[in-house]
């Protein structure tokens, strides 16, 4: 039996192992040494590595992001944690104007090896300002890498790869995935930038699920299997750079691409993926494309509205079914899944 860890434990182990291996890795952010340890992802690290390497910050996201850039220029490898992705907006100037551009703008003289961890919320009324994904905004900017692992295995491998990367990497964590458990090797390993994974095989359509929508796509696949539709599911893992080839190969086979983004679809990573695949297959006729994402509005707090805001396994399966069978009336039941039940406030 392979050893199992939770997503949270996998992040913690990756950080621990990298800090143990490389004295240049430092970890900071609001609450990293807090009694709640950022959901457990920094547990034990303040004690093990001391307050000079693991430290809390004041509420100063903008400055601390610039601090990370300066540290990186001096050869450190900072990890800056935001308990919510929404707060990375206060760091946007430093991320977009400095971290992303530094290496290019200074003629290859100053690269920025830093990791920014940002958490996406959902459910329990996280609402307008505590639920945003925003990764598409950052993936838009050349010079930034963006990764959104969905399993404990990839949580560890991607974080190690991000820390070792010589460029700024936005590491996207979905709070609903923190609950997942799965096999995680003890040894150190990298899940390298630009490596997508086929997570389930099928011949009838290709579903690409980004971040938490990967899990929802696998659930939708289950619903579809019950009516005889075999969906292939792909986890892109890295959103910038994107592994286009794996998706193109699959779509060439299935002739149908449904991308489910965990972000607003317009100008999003999902829409870009659809466009890129369509371009790559532009000589071929009869391929269907579709992109689902958040409804084009602010995330509402009220549970009834929030339910309508996000794609879910039933709505994803219904969309896929329509693509395969041309019938838009079929819809599987909306089921309750363990993490949405166990995810309760306060926070």
């Amino acid at each position: 039996m392979e050893r199992e860890l939770s997503f949270v434990e996998a992040i913690c182990e990756a950080t621990d192992q990298e800090m143990g291996r490389d004295r240049n890795v430092v970890l900071f952010g609001l609450g990293v040494d807090d009694p709640k340890h950022i959901q457990g992802t920094t547990k034990g690290l303040p004690e093990k590595y001391g307050a000079e390497r693991v430290f809390d910050t004041p509420l100063s996201e903008d400055a601390m992001t610039g601090v990370a850039v300066g540290m990186a220029w001096a050869g450190l490898r900072p990890i800056h944690v935001h308990i919510r992705m929404d707060f990375a907006l206060l760091a946007a100037n430093q991320l977009v104007n400095m971290a992303a551009k530094s290496y290019y703008m200074f003629g290859g003289k100053l690269n920025v090896p830093m990791v920014v961890r940002g958490m996406i919320g959902k459910s329990w009324g996280q609402g307008p300002q505590h639920s945003q994904a925003l990764y598409s905004m950052f993936a838009h900017v050349p010079g930034l890498k963006v990764v959104a692992p969905t399993t404990p295995h990839d949580a560890k491998g991607c974080l190690i790869a991000a820390i070792r990367d010589d460029n700024p990497v936005l590491y996207v964590e979905h709070r609903m995935l923190h609950f997942q458990k799965g096999p995680v090797p003890e040894a150190m390993y990298e899940v390298a930038p630009g490596s997508a994974r086929v997570t389930a095989e099928g011949a009838d359509l290709t579903m690409v699920g980004i971040s938490y929508m990967q899990l929802e796509c696998l659930r939708a696949r289950h619903e579809l299997a019950a009516v005889g539709i075999e969906a292939e599911v792909i986890d892109p893992i890295w959103l910038a750079p994107l592994d286009l080839d794996t998706v193109v190969r699959s779509v060439r086979k299935t002739r149908r691409l449904l991308v489910v983004d965990n972000d607003w679809a317009y100008c999003g990573v999902g829409a870009s993926l659809v466009a890129a695949v369509a371009e790559a297959l532009s000589g071929e006729v009869g391929i269907q494309y579709r992109c689902l994402g958040f409804q084009p509005t602010t995330c509402p707090t009220s549970p009834t509205l929030e339910e309508a805001f996000y794609p879910n396994p039933a709505s994803i399966a219904a969309g896929a079914h329509e693509m395969v069978r041309g019938d838009s009336t079929w819809r599987p039941p909306r089921r309750a899944y363990p993490e949405t039940i166990s995810f309760r406030g306060p926070f």
Binding site: P35, P58, L59, S60, G127, P300, G345, P346
Partner: protein, 339 residues
């Protein structure tokens, strides 16, 4: 825009208070407001485990006195900007009780139609501007509104409430600077409860004298020794009168010590986390403004007010529970204002 009339109205059938009072704060109003806020938040804490409120709540139990003292010195047409820990300022300024509870319940009848929740309360008619979940974000909005009032020569005062943690953000300093530069009719009000989540002020600020920061940016500052309602009220009433008399009188800054009795977010206590002790909080509880306010009234008056407040709160929760959830079909309403 908030209305310019000075007609005083209060939510939930609570009687009006005299908005233009000078002299010491009316003890009955003071007790009523303190009791209202405490009762509402204790009821929130009580029902929270049943999941009728499915969103984060940041309670101000123990911190009510500052909001009450400040808001009693304001008029209906004055405006307050609060934070995600905004129940006290909302209610003290006269925000509608029924609509607040319905908002927490995610209901159609909520002050934001259920779209905002506890962290985004709003009651424009009563001068409560929408609150933000992102620390320090509404400090510049308060300045913007003060500058608009100044521009139109409206004798209206804006108060920006924020916590000690907010004084670490860049936007705090930027706003202080511009407010001083523009001599804006704005009152900065820092509710210093010593903590940002679980981290003490001294672990976050090398120079933790917050008033000195304000003064360094050119804004005169005053630190209250305690959250005593009468003292805070008198100072704020004076400052407000000065700003109403002269829209170019310039901003002022107040820091009030206060104490959060419950956990940072959620209904419970959090002494098990070890960042502070139960004794720390017990010391604050010995100075409970609500108890002091109760002591200033006769038993009969107190009983009348209690019955009134408890009844209003109970009705607000009943109405919220009975109200409908928003229809899924309204999800895309209000993304843009359509003409």
């Amino acid at each position: 825009m908030p209305p310019t009339s000075s007609r005083e109205s209060r939510g939930a059938g609570l009687p009006a208070r005299d908005p233009a009072r000078t002299g010491p704060p009316d003890p009955e109003t003071c007790y009523r407001l303190l009791l209202l806020i405490r009762t509402v938040e204790e009821e929130i804490a009580r029902v929270y485990p049943s999941d009728v409120i499915k969103s984060p709540v940041h309670l101000s139990i123990g911190q009510e006195a500052v909001a009450v003292a400040v808001c009693m010195a304001l008029r209906l047409e004055d405006v307050v900007f609060g934070t995600y820990r905004g129940h006290a300022a909302y209610l003290a300024k006269g925000g509608d009780l029924d609509r607040m509870i319905a908002e927490l319940y995610g209901k159609n009848t909520g002050c934001a139609g259920g779209k905002g929740g506890s962290m985004h309360l709003v009651d424009v008619e009563h001068g409560v501007m929408g609150t933000s979940a992102v620390v320090a974000t509404t400090i510049p909005e308060a300045l913007g509104m003060a500058m608009a009032f100044q521009y139109r020569r409206e004798p209206r005062v804006v108060v920006s409430f924020f916590g000690d943690g907010a004084t670490e953000e860049g936007v705090f300093f930027e706003t202080l600077n511009v407010a001083a530069l523009r001599k804006a009719p704005l009152i900065f009000l820092c509710e210093n409860n010593s903590y940002a989540i679980h981290t003490h002020l001294h672990q976050r600020q090398a120079q933790s004298d917050i008033c000195r920061k304000a003064e360094a940016m050119g804004v005169p500052a005053f630190r209250f020794e305690s959250d005593d309602v009468e003292t805070v009220y008198a100072r704020i009433a004076g400052a407000a009168a000065r700003l109403r008399a002269d829209p170019f009188a310039g901003p002022c800054f107040f820091e009030a010590p206060t104490c959060r009795w419950r956990e940072h977010v959620g209904p419970g206590e959090d002494f098990h986390l070890g960042y502070r002790t139960a004794d720390d909080v017990r010391r604050c509880q010995a100075n409970d403004a609500l108890k002091k306010a109760a002591g200033r009234l006769t038993e009969i008056r107190r009983a009348v007010i209690e019955r009134e407040v408890l009844g209003a709160v109970a009705r607000a929760f009943e109405r919220a529970a009975a109200a409908p959830f928003p229809e899924a079909g309204t999800l895309l309403d209000d993304v843009y204002k359509e003409v």
